[in-house]
Subunit: 431 residues, 2 copies
């Protein structure tokens, strides 16, 4: 069953959907050629916002959680993609060490870990869990809601290799976004495949780098389709030297917010969009929906209350915020019942394997939905999800909309590939 969505798909996005369907062979070919030059991240999830007049990625996660929110129908796709990924990286692979987040008591997250183990197990690997939590010194069973258990084991590091007791993996898959910094135990592993590479972690990664790469990708893609890249690209700016706690740097931030609101206003005018612009201010290194605020007027920044200051000062694992991005806000006009919804698309290797709607009943169309209280409704496959049906009127066919979502999500994934190349500390420089 395709969830019953109320989407205000009018104007530009309907035209865009139409153009994407007509251009499908050109689009798929373009992706194939890009993947010849660039290596896709091992796995990726992308949050999208569909404003009806604009469709854009707002977050690209290289350590995706939430695989448990995919439906059973999507699992074979994930397994097939995992097989393709493994075959490419290390066909001789036998053992896969999976390193999850430390917050091990969150059963939703544990269900994600169990799902990842199922996917890579079904792809033909022995999968075991090693934890970065140094308080775990022997195999520890964690109960899952369905009555099964996961076993977390302490890592065993030798000079050259990382593994578990009696378990020597050729590949290490990290599902921990490394916000707390790069753990020494993961450093200097040159004999094993460490996926994603360490510089994909939030100890190194910056949202601004990602959106800079995305802008480049969006421009290329827009050229292919002969359209304004703004339709798929959220504008952004960077502001450094901000200290919300001490109130430092807020003048500069205010000026930049104002400038961005004006840029958005001009674009709205160009397209005849009757909306109130807003921007999202986010920590450049923030994840987990932390360190994010919606600003509808630059004046709001003059007198921030203590709660907002606290919220914006530190992100996951206590990282301080001094650099933020100011991103054009993309309202989401998708609704499920009365709740605001945004699509999240999951990919393994270069393949879209599924997705769901993140739904939040208590948030507005201009707010971050990745917050406590959100729920998940699978982008279920009444019709196979990413199979567009040419000839069906744009805007009315869920499969067609899903194809468009899959394209934009893959553009964000491609941007992540560009980003990881640009930030690779081991990149060879041909100068």
């Amino acid at each position: 069953m395709v969830p019953h969505l109320i989407t205000a798909l009018t104007g530009p996005i309907n035209e865009l959907e139409q153009r994407m369907l007509e251009s499908m062979p050109a689009i798929e070919r373009w992706f194939r050629l890009e993947w010849m030059e660039h290596t896709p991240p091992f796995y990726t999830s992308v949050d999208l916002r569909n404003a009806g007049f604009k469709l854009a990625p707002v977050d690209t996660n290289l350590y995706p959680g939430g695989f448990n929110n995919l439906t059973a129908e999507m699992i074979p796709l994930a397994v097939q993609a995992a097989m393709a990924a493994i075959e490419k990286i290390c066909p001789e692979a036998k053992n896969l060490l999976l390193i999850p987040e430390k917050h091990t008591r969150n059963t939703f997250y544990l269900a994600n870990v169990a799902r990842l183990m199922q996917i890579f197990g079904s792809a033909g690997l022995n999968v075991r869990l090693g934890t970065l939590d140094e308080t775990i010194t022997e195999p520890t069973e964690l109960p899952l809601p369905d009555g099964s258990t996961l076993t977390l084991e302490p890592l065993v590091r030798t000079k050259r290799r990382l593994g578990l007791k009696h378990f020597d993996p050729c590949t290490i898959l990290v599902n921990n976004d490394l916000s707390a910094g790069i753990p020494p135990v993961l450093e200097n592993l040159h004999e094993q495949y460490l996926l994603p590479p360490l510089h994909a972690g939030w100890a190194v990664r910056r949202k601004s780098q990602h959106f800079s790469a995305y802008e480049e990708v969006a421009k290329k893609f827009a050229k292919l389709l002969g359209m304004d890249p703004w339709l798929i690209n959220p504008m952004y700016a960077v502001c450094e030297g901000v200290n919300f706690q001490e109130g430092a740097g807020l003048d500069a931030l205010q000026a930049q917010v104002d400038a961005m609101l004006n840029k958005v206003r001009r674009k709205y005018k160009e397209y005849g969009i009757n909306e109130k612009p807003f921007v999202i201010v986010k920590a450049d290194n923030g994840t987990y929906g932390m360190g994010i605020m919606t600003v509808r007027d630059a004046k709001e920044l003059v007198d921030l209350n203590r709660r907002t200051r606290n919220k914006m000062s530190v992100v996951k694992d206590g990282q301080e915020v001094t650099r933020v991005i100011i991103q054009e806000g993309v309202p989401t006009y998708e609704r499920l019942n009365d709740a605001v919804a945004e699509p999240v698309v999951y990919m393994i290797d270069r393949y879209v394997v599924g997705g769901f709607y993140r739904v939040h009943a208590e948030r507005g169309i201009d707010e971050n939905l990745n917050a406590p209280g959100s729920s998940f409704v699978p982008l279920a496959f009444a019709e196979p999800a990413h199979l567009p049906r040419p000839g069906v009127k744009p805007g009315v066919s869920a499969p067609n909309r899903f194809y468009m979502y899959g394209v934009i999500a893959r553009l964000a994934m491609l941007a992540a590939a560009y980003e990881l190349e640009a930030t690779d500390p081991n990149a060879e420089v041909y100068a």
Copy 2:
């Protein structure tokens, strides 16, 4: 919904299923390594027979029809596999020319062609149909049962390339098994990818070569799992110089049938199987379920009636039969309601993308089911089809049985890869 199947899974096959589930990582790794050395056929379907005491492929089709019998849930898997295949063969691909069978009024077959167009279209190719039927000299619309149409176009051959009017494909996908011989229009195409290669057609292919390659594959695989290859390998022998119409060579055939029945009898004794052995006599170049007979006693060959002689004398497209294989008969103990059923597994590139049961209410457990009157019940994915569930009792879990089916089908596909290497007229010889 997994179809309700009555399977008499007792003894060896239950043990085999158990061993396969336990050995899944080793099996998948083994396949990965084999695919590093050998190129899988572009697409393949394999007919299996599950006798409870033995599970074996009985036919490997390199021009599979019946894609229309796959359920909607399986299509995304097929699309993803098609994407992987295209990417590997020709990432720059834009246009795909599909060449179907000539018997263009069979709407079941046309539905298969439409499904293939959907799959490769969704993988991002412009797909058009070119026909080998020379009576078609201009684009001709063929109606489909669902009200849509297919357009067959005449082929346009230049010195170096094959295409249609205003359509120059980089890849030509043949869905015609070439029983009638290799059409000159397909010869000497060196600039385009012609898939499968011409020597995969029944103008060249021989069942005996395939089963010889399968025997080799089965022995390797059996060694990996530490089991008797007979559990997955149907024994066979070849008999030449047979002319059913004139009664020539039948003495020799009778002797070989008798020898094969004795071999099977000994195996049954070894395993304590209380069954009456039978053999299948098939034209070495036969397809489409033509030129096949079941023999329970060599004496049956002494006095063949006219109908059987006619049936065994010519196969598809009027090819004469002079060479047959005598294959150990594998009874099928799977039933759907009261009808005898056999699984058919579909693969694109190296991936299992779906399958169904071929069901025939009027045939026996020791007869060929690929005959008029058969119907198709999808191996539907209540649980994702090829995802085994370790820990579930063998023989009772459909997903586990499907995993085993997928393994055996992939062994047959691998055998086809060996076979095509051995018969490649352009193979480089390192001597």
